[in-house]
């Protein structure tokens, strides 16, 4: 679906590349997570996946990014946005300002694509229902909480029916309640089988949803694999990523002999609960 081949990129304002020889494949129908420390190049990669690099940002690049059969650098941005939807960090900045109610805001992308009205109404209703924001339909987008605005931003992309959805740290500017709303929306997106690339620093969110994780450090992809493997990798600290609370608690317990020796460290709440339950039942080998 989206493929990076030996992609290196430097912003026009900086001499040093931010991404170095990135090879990464986002496969159809899979939920990919990209994790990395601050400044590791996560957001730059997200922008490149959505085509805003190089089209909007400029800069120098080598290698190639493709979306399906399209080479991003050779494809006009208006054609790319029909294939890749992008959700950014700041929910407020994604409100278009062009429409006065949530339902109109969500429909805005379809209007610009020239989608016929009946079809547009069906799509808007369906996506609001799926993301559970139908009660907000007639409110002004500017009156919503940050979490609600971010879910509207996700809905505004889904309604355009892109083939892949790229989300750049969608919970980074939200309070816990707002983050929960977005997480629930992502679960609903995942249930549709849509292709997703979620750039995120919240490991627990990735552990919950991702089929596959990619770790980026200093602009290079340094590890890839299933979340259970990646999020318990001993090199996490070296990559500046840290661990989930569940992995950290289980590691502490293992040091004290309170975690089953044969059981790998968990990345999720369910895994941690199962391990501690086993330990409580005396299964420590």
């Amino acid at each position: 679906m989206i493929r990076f081949r030996d992609f290196t990129y430097a912003y026009p304002t900086g001499e040093a590349p931010v991404l170095h020889g990135v090879d990464l494949e986002v496969r159809p129908g899979r939920f990919h997570g990209l994790v990395g420390a601050s400044g590791s190049g996560k957001s730059t990669l997200a922008m490149a996946a959505a085509g805003f690099i190089p089209h909007a940002q400029g800069g120098e690049s080598t290698g190639e990014v493709t979306v399906g059969d399209l080479v991003v650098a050779d494809t006009p941005l208006p054609d790319l946005v029909t294939r890749v939807g992008l959700v950014q960090q700041d929910p407020f900045d994604q409100i278009s300002g062009a429409r006065f109610t949530v339902r109109e805001e969500i429909a805005f992308g379809c209007e610009n694509l020239g989608v016929e009205r009946g079809e547009m109404v069906r799509r808007v209703d369906e996506v609001m229902e799926r993301l559970r924001i139908a009660p907000l339909a007639d409110r002004s987008p500017y009156e919503l909480s940050g979490g609600q605005q971010q879910v509207v931003a996700v809905a505004s992309m889904l309604v355009m029916r892109p083939e892949v959805l790229v989300l750049d740290e969608p919970t980074s500017q939200l309070d816990p309640a707002g983050s929960r709303m977005v997480v629930e929306a992502l679960a609903a997106v995942r249930a549709t089988g849509m292709t997703v690339l979620l750039v995120e620093h919240g490991l627990e969110l990735l552990a919950e949803h991702a089929d596959e994780l990619h770790v980026i450090a200093d602009g290079r992809i340094v590890a890839e694999g299933p979340p259970a493997d990646i999020l318990t990798d001993p090199r996490l600290d070296a990559w500046g990523i840290g661990r989930t609370r569940f992995t950290a608690a289980a590691a502490e317990a293992r040091r004290d002999g309170l975690w089953p020796r044969s059981r790998p460290l968990p990345a999720t709440l369910d895994g941690a609960a199962a391990g501690f339950r086993a330990a409580a039942n005396g299964e420590l080998e």
Binding site: A50, D93, S96, F100, F108, V124, E143
Partner: protein, 262 residues
């Protein structure tokens, strides 16, 4: 809440249901008509016979009067002071105020001008009170307003309160660090407020970049004919009424030129 939503009063009156373009045509027609006749009673008649009943039918009469007076009263005072006291043409002096003279002609001129402006302001107020801004923009786009111009208008209307909120947040952050914004004279206050503009403008510029990415993600500006989610009802009768109102306004000017109102 957006600036314009502070004005709008929801309702289901006949005036509310009119297509906003018809109401805009009314604004244009009464304004042209008011300025087309040089008689004191003419704009007063337009206001009392067309605009006030419109506000009553729409069920917004109280707010209509408050808003019109709110917009208009300060301007009215200035207009009467300037025109009443400084009318340059010779005329009948009613009163001497030191070196200044209050002339009948000055007061009539001020009154006519004030009433003409009153007609224009009142028509706009009636439009704002009975038309949701979103419906107004949708109707204008349906009538052929280019999407980019519609966007600039809508975004400006909605973004102002957010910009004010950010300015307040920056000011409060600086006050928390000991900046005294209210002490001293006006010049000192302005000097102290100037550094606050930096973060406000830089933040706004960042917003613009992010918002432009968000807009491009939503295919804004794509070379296809946009469709409309919100379709504002219109009718042949309303389209005819719009042309009729404008034709009547022009007719009024013609009749005035022919001396019918003399």
């Amino acid at each position: 809440m957006s600036t314009t939503l502070q004005f709008y009063r929801a309702g289901d009156s006949w005036v509310h249901r009119l297509n906003p373009v018809t109401k805009l045509a009314f604004v244009a027609a009464v304004t042209i008509a008011a300025f087309g006749v040089e008689r004191l009673w003419w704009p007063a008649a337009l206001f009392l016979l067309l605009e006030v009943p419109g506000a009553v039918i729409a069920g917004v009469a109280g707010r209509f009067v408050r808003m019109v007076l709110g917009f208009f009263a300060p301007f009215l005072v200035i207009l009467f002071l300037l025109q009443g006291l400084t009318y340059p043409e010779p005329g009948t002096v009613l009163l001497h105020l030191g070196p200044l003279e209050v002339k009948t002609e000055g007061l009539v001129f001020a009154g006519t001008t004030a009433l003409r402006l009153l007609v224009m302001v009142a028509a706009f107020v009636l439009l704002l009170l009975t038309t949701h801004p979103g419906t107004l923009m949708s109707a204008m786009q349906q009538a052929g307003l280019p999407p980019k111009i519609a966007y600039v208008v809508s975004a400006t209307l909605q973004i102002i309160p957010s910009f004010q909120a950010r300015a307040n947040a920056i000011m409060q952050a600086q006050q928390a660090r000991g900046l005294e914004v209210r002490a001293g004279g006006a010049a000192a206050r302005v000097r102290r407020l100037l550094p606050l503009m930096g973060p406000l403008l830089l933040g706004a510029l960042t917003d613009v970049e992010n918002r432009s990415i968000a807009m491009e993600s939503r295919a804004f500006g794509r070379p296809v004919r946009p469709t409309a989610y919100t379709v504002v009802p219109d009718s042949a009768a309303q389209r005819a009424a719009r042309w009729a109102m404008l034709a009547l306004a022009v007719l009024v000017i013609v009749l005035n030129t022919l001396g019918v109102f003399s």
